[in-house]
């Protein structure tokens, strides 16, 4: 027996599932299309004759003898040494995340626990710097970097990325620390900790989700940055995003565009893994039970 109410609920369910499915397709399509296309040759994926070539792979079969080819990946990673760019990205991202998290946790904690008025103004200043377009920092730095002969190397880029990233990590961690009751560190201090021990043994363990979330955002900023890395790194030191850009920029040679496509897929894959891996950590829950429930 189905009542009217049951019917309505099923209809509502079907409609909402359909909407979610539609959204999923629209959102995922560009990624899936790029992933699919990265195993074709340029004549198919960027076919002028018929877009369906990208699906059937007519030219790919003619050129390589199979519907799928790893040419794009081979060209990008081996021929053009994309692995160098990947390695540079690893270095830049690692140090940017570590440095901004170190300063961010210490500074965010200090600002969250300080009752002084200047703490507020420091945060306001941080917000202003956060709001500035990234490129404005670069244009100001370029001349001094040339003069001091530090242009084009990784440490300079790391410093600039940290500078861009720091206001954000400071804000984010500051608000996480505000959610942790002050009683916790005071209790630890009465129990026998110094301020720093209280921070290390009591606050940080509770803070992990916040630190990981903030670290993830810092990672994404450093990983995806184009403005800073493209301007500040020499060709042999460039990271993956400018590298992809340079693949795209030289369209005279056939196959280079496909290198870019393959590189894009290679650059996207780690992000999926990372977010799937850390999704559970994203915030909340851990402080429950610290104070009265």
């Amino acid at each position: 027996m189905t009542t009217l109410a049951d019917n309505r609920i099923t209809t509502l369910k079907i409609v909402s599932f359909a909407l979610v499915a539609l959204w999923l397709i629209i959102a995922a399509f560009p990624f899936l299309w790029t992933l699919w296309g990265s195993f074709k040759v340029q004549a198919d994926f960027f076919s002028k004759a018929n877009w369906q070539n990208a699906l059937s792979g007519t030219n790919t079969i003619r050129e390589t003898g199979s519907a799928f080819t790893g040419q794009g990946y081979y060209g990008a990673w081996v021929q053009e040494e994309f692995w160098r760019a990947a390695l540079n990205t690893c270095i830049v991202v690692f140090f940017t995340v570590v440095i901004s998290l170190t300063f961010g946790t210490l500074g965010g904690y200090a600002l969250a626990r300080s009752g002084k008025r200047y703490a507020f103004w420091l945060l306001m200043a941080a917000l202003v710097f956060r709001a500035m377009p990234h490129i404005t920092l670069v244009s100001g730095y370029l001349l001094p970097f040339f003069e001091w002969n530090v242009w084009g190397i990784l440490p300079t880029t790391i410093i600039v990325l940290v500078a861009i990233n720091q206001p954000f990590t400071l804000w984010m961690l500051h608000s996480f620390f505000l959610n942790i009751p002050k009683d916790m560190d005071e209790s630890a201090m009465v129990d026998g900790c110094t301020r720093f021990q209280a921070f290390r043994h009591v606050i940080i363990p509770v803070m992990w989700p916040g630190v990981i979330t903030t670290g993830l955002f810092s990672f994404l900023l450093a990983y995806n940055d184009f403005a800073v890395t493209a301007m500040l790194l020499s060709t042999q030191n460039e990271t993956i995003i400018p590298a992809i850009n340079s693949f795209l920029g030289s369209t005279q040679v056939e196959g280079n565009v496909m290198f870019a496509v393959a590189a894009v897929v290679s650059a996207t894959a780690p992000l999926f893994v990372l977010i799937l891996f850390f999704q559970r950590q994203i915030v909340s829950g851990l402080t429950a039970g610290a104070v009265k429930g």
Binding site: P181, E186, A188, M189, V190, G192, C193, V206, G289, A290
Partner: protein
């Protein structure tokens, strides 16, 4: 082992005075309760003793040593927070053990100490649980165990019962009383609940607006309140206070006439406790219509209105009347407390009656 001395201790934030000129010596093993309404400076005083707040002026001495500017960890105090402040990532055992660990006490002794402390608060069965899996009362006991585990010189408790429900509060109160008797350690206990203060304290400090109003044992505070604030704060119900005039030993207010008092002429406030007065057939000192009538079970509380204030009297449990009926209340001079009309300070009876 630990005597605490506060000399002219004060705390200011800008223009706001949190605590004003606090002077007190707390002898070893005393259970001292700081009592007052919220915002009266009682918690601030405790936090200054703990070292979580710097005193703006004055000296705090523990065992004769000035501890101003000393880190909390160096003062050898243990504190129970109102929110318990348990460490959510550690289980009960690790929570209790934490003070031993950070103070570098020989690890071989940890287990025994933790088990002894947890046994004292009956937590033995919960040692492997996380704080999130405990009830409010159990969390509270973890906080107590964490405080007693390292046998500190001074115990500080900041409203430890205020987050518990009424029934649990009574039993935990008894537990704290028993525990403090067993441990015999100087304890400072902050509360806004006067019943807790009366039941637990060796001595009570009543504070308001950062100023100490009265220091004394519970009986003194109850029997001889130093001013109208203490009188109106202590007791359940609090003391009835009536504003009026004294002329030649006779206190008058609308509907009130009490003679035989030894107070100087002028404006005065008269106070009496509801349980001391009684309802009489006629000829009482207060004559007014009944404003409300509450059956308490063991007694009946009769309230009448005098001017703008409501005063009450405890009548026999069989007393029955309607609201609006005239009632006569006997308030003999012997049960009256007189306070100055301006300052509110207690006026001591000239001749002991």
């Amino acid at each position: 082992m630990a005597q605490i001395e506060l000399r002219n201790v004060g705390k200011r934030w800008g223009d706001f005075v949190g605590v004003h000129d606090f002077n007190l010596t707390i002898p070893d093993k005393e259970f001292l309760v700081l009592l007052g309404p919220s915002g009266c400076g009682k918690t601030t005083t405790m936090r200054m003793i703990a070292g979580l707040e710097d005193a703006s002026n004055g000296d705090i001495l523990i065992d004769g040593t000035v501890v101003n500017g000393m880190e909390p960890k160096d003062r050898d105090v243990a504190m129970v927070f109102q929110s318990y402040a348990l460490y959510p990532n550690m289980n009960v055992y690790e929570n209790i053990r934490f003070p031993l660990k950070v103070r570098g006490i020989d690890p071989k002794l940890h287990d025994e100490k933790v088990r002894r402390a947890s046994a004292m608060v009956e937590l033995d069965d919960f040692l492997h649980r996380k704080p999130a899996e405990l009830s409010g009362g159990q969390r509270q006991r973890v906080a107590l165990a964490r405080a007693i585990v390292r046998e500190p010189n001074v115990f500080l408790m900041d409203e430890p019962l205020s987050n518990l429900d009424a029934k649990l509060r009574v039993s935990t109160r008894a537990q704290i009383k028993n525990l403090s008797h067993e441990l015999a350690v100087t304890t400072i206990y902050v509360t806004h609940d006067q019943i807790e203060a009366m039941t637990l304290a060796d001595r009570v400090v009543v504070m308001e607006k950062g100023v100490v109003q009265q220091v004394g044992n519970p009986t003194e505070i109850y029997d001889r309140p130093a001013n109208t604030f203490v009188a109106g704060f202590i007791g359940n119900p609090a003391m009835n206070l009536i504003e009026g005039q004294v002329r030649a030993g006779v206190f008058t207010a609308p509907g009130v006439e009490i003679s035989g008092l030894s107070a100087p002429d002028g404006a005065a406030t008269l106070g009496y406790r509801a349980e001391d007065a009684s309802v009489v057939e006629f000829g009482g000192h207060i004559n007014a219509p009944i404003y409300s009538l509450e059956l308490l079970g063991d007694a009946t509380m009769v309230t009448v209105r005098i001017g703008q204030t409501l005063v009450n009297v405890r009548a026999d449990k069989s007393f029955r009347a309607e609201i609006g009926d005239a009632v006569s209340i006997s308030v003999p001079a012997g049960i009256c407390h007189m306070f100055d009309g301006q300052t509110g300070a207690r006026i001591e009876a000239q001749d002991a009656s």
